[in-house]
Symmetry: C2
Subunit: 212 residues, 2 copies
């Protein structure tokens, strides 16, 4: 547990800062001021400095921020300097899309197990996931315990989601990434992040009324 409680709004902005810093890095930009970053990212310079100073003084007066350094620092704050063992539960279309994304874009996150109601003999998409096995859900709890899985990714149908969550929580995962359309009840001490795609689509419908 950290000393100061950082608001969710701040945490939600960190990955975004990191993405923009990565782009700057790619372009070979070495330093950036909060003012220039503000123009790029759309937050006020003041907010950028406030956000970063929750975690330490990463800048230098009169100079700005080192792009490389700040990128690394934010990674560390987020915990992206560590390695994570993941199990994907539910290997339908969404499960496969997520597995593919992680395998190709998230080097710190390792898919070590894939679970589905049926054992799928062969990955039809023919992708390698750190030699992850595809297993039936029966072996889920045992696998999480024995392999010390850190994160369970839940992509099962809505009506199965809570059952899966209970199982993986009980088996000792530290985090749950919930991609189903339901809110899960999770014991305190286990982190949960939701990607509610339907909520996002419905918000889009709302904003389209204003548009034209």
């Amino acid at each position: 547990m950290r000393n100061k409680q950082i608001s969710k709004a701040v945490i939600k902005r960190l990955p975004r800062y990191r993405r923009y810093l990565r782009e700057l890095q790619k372009k070979g930009v070495e330093k950036i001021s909060s003012k220039d970053l503000s123009k790029l990212i759309g937050y006020t310079a003041s907010q950028i400095r406030q956000d970063l100073n929750n975690f330490g003084g990463f800048g230098q007066q009169g100079y700005g921020y080192s792009v490389n350094n700040l990128y690394e620092e934010i990674g560390t704050i987020l915990g992206l300097d560590k390695e994570y063992k993941m199990a994907i539960v539910g290997y339908g279309r969404l499960g496969r899309a997520i597995a593919n994304y992680i395998a190709n874009n998230e080097p710190k996150f390792h898919i070590i197990g894939i679970f589905d109601v049926k054992k799928i003999i062969q990955d039809i998409d023919d992708v390698e996931f750190d030699d992850a096995q595809i297993m039936t859900c029966k072996s889920l709890a045992g696998f999480i315990r024995s392999e010390q899985v850190d994160i369970a990714v839940i992509t099962v149908p809505a009506e199965k989601a809570q059952l899966v969550a209970d199982t993986v929580a009980d088996a000792g995962v530290k985090g749950i990434w919930n991609l189903t359309a339901v809110d899960l009840e999770i014991p305190a001490g286990i982190a949960v992040e939701n990607v509610h795609m339907s909520d996002s689509l419905h918000a889009l419908a709302y904003y389209m009324q204003d548009a034209e």
Copy 2:
């Protein structure tokens, strides 16, 4: 354009209210007070009443809210009483997962066109999407114009995302649902909603540090 500007925080909660009301509806619950809804959904009763009263007085003193009525009202506020024509741009694993989700769960959203760099002769997943054709991206702008597509769903690789956004914006879509890992620059008057899955995963990593 509406008279009062409603904050994004409120809009983000509406789909969630609607989901819980749908569950109550399924269970045959006819009325609910803000107090009971609060217990269920986790927002304060005060906030629930404030949120709803941005749009009108849907309740009745001494009684509460009619579940059916409130469900319908929120749907109308969100614009879910209308029909939307959609084009999916990028038909990889994520595009297929999204197409499948929409076809099976979102009756008001109609996929009328699917675009990819290559024309895929046959949908390998063998799903019907309102007879949507699969076409190459070359025909994208023309299709959007002639078919009056309302929403473009962007699931192409990050480096192509802005190009696609420019194309569909220019061709006259009213909304863009962005599932790529980049932020898009979109002309004012076109609604955008982002599902940044990688940001969500990175936030999860952060919260796992507090957990244990």
